[in-house]
């Protein structure tokens, strides 16, 4: 198959084509320049600036100086490890929920939707047309104490169970871990569905037929063929959900309480309210390092390198 798609061998360049070629050689780099500059100014510089901030000491009044005060990291970690753990926990729970909710939907769009495929895709992306903040505020109304959702959950005694598990408190959902996880799940669901869909959609339908032909029941076909082949989508979907969710603070801020603060909330308040810049910077770096380590470990374990 590969031989068929191979490009024909390039023709030998004509000798007189040389002068324009020399000029053309630098064109790709010129084209790269804006992007590189952008990254330098808006990514590399702030990173260096924050890294330096994180090891400074001083005060707002006297100004900050680089004193290589690495203890800030240790202090930040020991003061705020509950928020770190909570971030991982909530983001993890939201990611798992997104996977559970998103996989069947992505499967449906990829294999069963037929002519409805585009419509459902639009519905998946539709929330992006509204602001993140507005959508999260809408959830405040949905989960309001006197709202129909809470009412129904109360009637069905679901809240008794979730309260016993510590996910909710009393007969309200708002300002509980459940509300924060719900908000995260809702807000990041499209980031799960889109990569899942694109990897499911690439699976050759005849592989399902072949599995069926080789005595695999539909469930087994899913377990042994469809799911393994969709692993690239599962991995990128979970990463695209987990990484932003673990740094998010809007959901915890609007739907949670002081007991559901995530590390994003801490960083936000350190930067903007307490104005303790070194701690805020150190927290950001710890979060970044933690995510990098987790992601590396995760990608290694999932072994999808040769599937793509």
């Amino acid at each position: 198959m590969a031989a068929l798609t191979e490009a024909p061998p390039p023709l030998a360049p004509a000798p007189e084509a040389k002068p324009p070629r020399r000029r053309g050689r630098w064109t790709p780099y010129w084209l790269l320049l804006p992007g590189i500059l952008w990254l330098l100014v808006f990514f590399a510089m702030p990173m260096i600036y924050q890294a330096s901030t994180s090891v400074q000491t001083g005060s707002l009044e006297e100004g900050y100086k680089v004193t290589w005060h690495f203890a800030t990291y240790w202090d930040a970690l020991s003061d705020y490890y509950p928020q770190f753990l909570r971030s991982v926990l909530y983001a993890g729970a939201a990611t798992i929920l997104c996977l559970i909710l998103g996989y069947p939907l992505a499967y449906l769009i990829a294999f069963r939707a037929g002519r409805w495929r585009n419509l459902i895709m639009i519905l998946v992306i539709a929330p992006f047309f509204t602001s993140f903040l507005i959508r999260t505020l809408a959830w405040k109304t949905i989960l309001a104490d006197s709202g129909p959702v809470v009412g129904a959950l109360n009637t069905l005694h679901v809240l008794d169970v979730t309260s016993w598990l510590g996910w909710t408190s009393g007969d309200r959902v708002l300002a509980t871990p459940l509300a924060v996880v719900c908000g995260l799940t809702y807000n990041f669901l499209p980031f799960m569905i889109l990569p899942l869909y694109s990897s499911l959609e690439r699976i050759d339908g005849r592989l399902h037929e072949a599995a069926g032909d080789l005595y695999a029941k539909p469930v087994t076909t899913f377990r042994k063929v469809t799911f393994p082949l969709s692993m690239p989508g599962v991995v990128s979907g979970t990463l695209l959900t987990f990484i932003p969710a673990s740094g998010d603070y809007v959901n915890a801020d609007l739907l949670g309480s002081t007991d559901t603060r995530m590390v994003g909330n801490v960083i936000q308040s350190q930067f903007l309210r307490i104005l303790d810049y070194p701690t805020a910077a150190a927290l950001s770096f710890i979060l970044m390092a933690a995510i990098l380590i987790m992601v590396t470990f995760y990608i290694r374990r999932s072994g999808t390198e040769d599937l793509v």
């Binding site: 592989l207 037929e209 599995a211 069926g212 080789l214």
Partner: protein, 381 residues
Amino acid sequence: MTNDSSGDVRLSGISKTYGSFTAVHPLDLTVPQGSFFALLGASGCGKTTTLRMIAGLEEPTSGTVHLGDQEVTQLPPYKRPVNTVFQSYALFPHLDIFENVAFGLRRRGIRSVKKQVEDMLDLVQLGEQARKRPHQLSGGQQQRVAVARALINTPKVLLLDEPLGALDLKLRRQMQLELKRIQTEVGITFIHVTHDQEEAMTMADTVAVMNAGRVEQLGSPTDLYENPRTTFVANFLGTSNLIEAEVDNKTGGEVVVRAAGGKLVLPETRCSAPTTTGGKVLVGVRPEKITLTHADDAGEIPTARNRITGTIAATSFIGVSTQYVIDSPVCPEFEVYAQNIDRDARLVPGAGVVLHWSPAHTFGLDAAQAIDAGVEEEAAL
């Protein structure tokens, strides 16, 4: 071949329609245990749909499918003792060759598959490749994996859907022989779908030629080639020269017909059309049955032979043979294949010639059908 009939495939009145389009018209077909059966036809003729109905991948609109004595019409594919070699193989890209081949065994709960898989890989000469992924193999090797993956389950019937379509010509010839060898070795019923008439004829014991959702004719390759009963079969399977003629009279088992002033004779047994005097028939002869004689030597031709005069329009030298296109009053493009034994140097374009052949090599077809049915289809492929 055994008398065991558990590998018989019996299709009774099976049909498939998609909306208003009929892919397969009600079809009755019995494929005996242990035979190598080919469904031959151009793309869109319903051959693959028929195969998929046997595999259970397509539900028939009407009719039943039997394997041996068991009715399987309603059984899902994973419950049928049938395996398929898919077009472009459909190997599992995330599994290595060993696991691809072991897939069917594992699904049936067989624990120790190592020995069986290794034996099967040896049979298809891929023992060394067991731990490679499908995309690391060549097309021919992937094809053999696909065969091994199906055969290891010792199905009652092996279905092959254009299995050699993606291979180049040389490899295809090689794999044809290979598949034939494997079939003889394992004795399983093979049903093979192909659009390549040469492939069907070299491999199969029985060929069913399909056209527009119907089986046009069924028989051994020789029978189909020598005694086509429709113009489609005559043209699709090899090449035929068809001449429009009128029945003159019938004597002693021979039919005499008139075509463009001349007379041709053919055996009555080889005429599938009604032979009432004055009725129209199509008279056919295969290009390789014809002898070409230069017009100057016409007197040397034995009198009992059918003869037609014409001029050479074109020649092409193939090596073992030379193909001539002759312009004649009965047919503007009469094809003749002559073995290159003693080439007559006078047979060049523009030369007047007499074409002659034995009446026994002549067949007759019903004139009520399109004379060029099956010509386009083959040319398109």
